[in-house]
Amino acid sequence: MILNIMRSGEQVSYKVSTKEATLLQLLSEIKTTQDATLSFASGCRSSVCGSCAMRVNGKEVLACAYKPQSGDLVEPLRNVPVIRDLVVDMEKALSFNKVAQSWAVSAAKLPAITPEDASVNEVQSDCILCGACYSACPVYAVNPEFIGPFALTRNWRYVSDKREEDVAGKIAAVQSNGIWDCTLCGECVPVCPQGIAPKSDIDMLRNKSNVLGYMDPKYADFGGGLDFGAPVF
């Protein structure tokens, strides 16, 4: 089987032999038997550490969960600086978690949580911060300061949590460069290895924002304020 790997802007082809292997196993085969300079990040091998996200034929995958076909083109994630080969610098992407205030502010006395309450953000809290959604997001082409899909999902994960005390603060944190900058194109949804749909979470955040009196600034720019008489498109 042939694997084509994008290295510093050039495609390099490798012949690999392990059968029925994951992409990560094949990358390890190349590194340990053919070319020790090939660089990639890896960790758990079981899709929970988020280290090995990369793109195959233009689509984001976890190398440890993808079984390659001969001729596949393997590239690093987009929208993040490439450090070397398939290794990217996640620092700026991760900094948006802070912008989005994706953390808990809990009451002194915690409320009772039913299984139904817990199911509300069960999937969102499966996020492994692999960066696949961030790479797939087209908004970064026009706005590099966009808070982005994973940080917004993680914001919603706390906003939707019954224990959360500071919903208003969290909603305020994602108004600028946040939920309204998303085009709802949905590119982030199919690439998530954990089955999370950031687009839907952003939609929920928009609804919650509307309830709290925020509105889409794009509409606010046209005439200032809600006009219930005529829908604006």
Partner: protein, 543 residues
């Protein structure tokens, strides 16, 4: 310069950092990976706390002591179990999305060796969700992280009689530069050393014992290294973990003839031996969870189904899962006292790299996540307190110069021998000779081979000469760390001439309380391994 330097950003490191900061210290966390990529994310089963109806702290203590088989420190276990209840309440308050019972309580399940349903869980993502909640809490607390910095050496402030750990030298992967971080106290939270078993381990590729090896080189005592827990159910081909919760929920173990052959909820040491014997006898062992039903499997064990399909081409809903026991958790670690301080002044340790003597000869499932919370808080507050007692440390660039020299030496290594191949050999050798069952002959053979590899190091080396993000070089350094640990582990395995918990000697099959109701203790003296034994602490007597 900060008050407290935390090395490692997994669960233990982040809890320690939060606790140190809360105690008023300035903190920096330096780690070879990103916080959410650590080993903690792989913990599936749960975190023990006696919050359930009918359960008690005493019962949790009794189960833990029993499993530790004479090597559990009663005072430490008392603290672990007593503070466990509060630890889970704290996790609830920082937003950990635990699964819930119909009564709106944190859901709990029974793991092996527990007398009741005690492990609080979040589906089979307990470690992942705790780790991410801790990460989010650290963002809120504005903890300073330095990611992708590889630990090379601890820095010692050496003033003759007064010798203190005061920082560490790291190699920043991105720039390739060496960076020294100075601090008044240092907390080691770098994880375990199961990757010595290479492909025969459930662990992430980074569990190479770098912190333990650095602590040993700096002169710290490391204890109970012979106790390596084999998880009964790793996937047969990939050694990927299938959680104990699969058995806790009623999963069966079947031999090649399709028959059950043992109690599936025994502690991990005994069960791993039973499975190992059965594989040798009938040829194969399978985990059977088909009778639990698709709905239950998808809801409670979503990872297991995905991983079994990916690595073994079987669907647990309709097929048997082929398994084998593999190295999973290292009970041994940097010897620490009740304040989590090591034998070196200024160096604290927590998590899998430390030995708080709560697991003894065999860890109970659900106690390691608990350990990193309870003792993470202890390490953080103790290190912060100790930092206050010290004036400025004496900054010396000597260690960084030594590391520079070492890296220059590695550059001159000849690359006649492939260290990746040796790493694979080391893993297979340890699984065979220093694994589930051990004998003097096998251990001596292993020691000879480890010594051989150490002598061959100058014939190995890194093929990649890049300064930027050189994982080849880092993996070589990790391999040298594993060889250091391998030698120390074998010394302890050879010296403990009895069978107890995870340490099973075929030539000394009985437990010997007269000679070995003690912790093994290893230190490096002039680069040579020295081994002795120390007493087990009993419970502090209440007056």
């Amino acid at each position: 310069m900060v008050d407290v330097l935390v090395i490692g950003s997994g669960g233990a490191g982040m809890v320690a950092a939060l606790a140190a900061q809360e105690a008023g210290a300035s903190v920096a966390v330096v780690s070879k990976t990103y916080p959410t990529r650590s080993q903690t994310c792989m913990a599936q089963g749960g975190i023990n706390a006696s919050i359930g109806e009918g359960d008690s702290v005493e019962s949790h203590i009794a189960d833990t002591l029993k499993s530790a088989q004479g090597l559990g420190d009663e005072a430490a276990i008392d603290k672990l179990c007593r503070e466990g209840v509060e630890a889970v309440v704290w996790l609830d308050s920082i937003g950990v999305p635990f699964s819930r019972s119909a009564e709106s309580k944190i859901a709990q399940r029974r793991l092996g060796g527990a007398s009741t349903d005690r492990a609080c869980y979040a589906q089979d993502y307990t470690g992942l969700k705790i780790l991410h909640s801790l990460y989010d809490s650290c963002l809120k607390a504005e903890i300073e992280f330095h990611n992708e910095h590889f630990l090379m050496e601890l820095i010692i402030d050496d003033r003759g009689d007064d010798r203190r750990v005061c920082g560490a030298v790291f190699k920043e992967l991105k720039s390739g530069e060496l960076k020294s971080f100075y601090a008044k106290t240092v907390i080691m939270a770098t994880g375990g050393y199961s990757r010595v078993y290479d492909h025969y381990s459930t662990n992430a590729t980074g569990s190479t014992g770098d912190g333990l090896a650095a602590a040993l080189r700096a002169g710290a005592v490391v204890s109970d290294l012979e106790f390596v827990q084999f998880h009964p159910t790793g996937l047969k081909n990939a050694s990927i973990l299938i959680s104990e919760s699969a058995r806790g929920a009623g999963g069966h173990l079947l031999n090649a003839h399709g028959d059950r052959f043992t109690d599936e909820l025994q502690p991990r040491d005994a069960l791993s031996r039973a499975i190992d014997e059965e594989i040798k006898k009938s040829g194969a062992v399978f985990l059977d969870i088909r009778h639990l039903g698709e709905n239950f499997i998808d809801h409670e064990l979503p990872q297991e189904r995905k991983l079994a399909k990916l690595y073994e081409n079987v669907d647990p809903v309709t097929d048997l899962i082929p398994i084998k026991p593999v190295a999973h958790y290292t009970m041994g670690g940097i010897a620490v006292d009740e304040r989590a301080e090591s034998t070196l002044d200024g160096l604290f340790a927590v998590g899998e790299c430390a030995n708080h003597n709560v697991h003894g000869a065999n860890r109970l499932g659900g106690n390691s996540l608990l350990e990193l919370i309870v003792f993470g808080k202890e390490a953080g507050s103790s290190a912060a307190k100790a930092a206050k007692e010290y004036a400025e440390v004496q900054v010396s660039e000597k260690t960084e110069a030594e590391v520079e020299q070492l890296l220059a030496a590695i550059k001159s290594y000849t690359n006649e021998v492939d260290f990746y191949q040796k790493r694979t050999e080391l893993g297979a050798l340890f699984y065979r000779n220093a694994g589930i069952k051990r004998s003097e002959k096998g251990l001596l053979t292993a020691l000879e081979q480890v010594h051989g590899m150490q002598h061959q190091l100058p014939k190995m080396g890194a093929l990649d000469g890049s300064k930027v993000y050189n994982t080849n070089l880092m993996e070589f350094v990790e391999f040298t760390n594993m060889l250091t640990l391998a030698e120390a582990m074998l010394a302890a395995m050879l010296e403990r001439k009895e069978s107890r918990g995870a340490h099973a000697r075929v030539d000394f099959s009985e437990r010997d309380d007269v000679l070995y109701n003690r912790h093994s203790a290893v230190l490096l003296h002039n680069r040579r391994v020295e081994i002795g034994f120390t007493q087990v602490r009993a419970k502090v007597q209440e007056v």
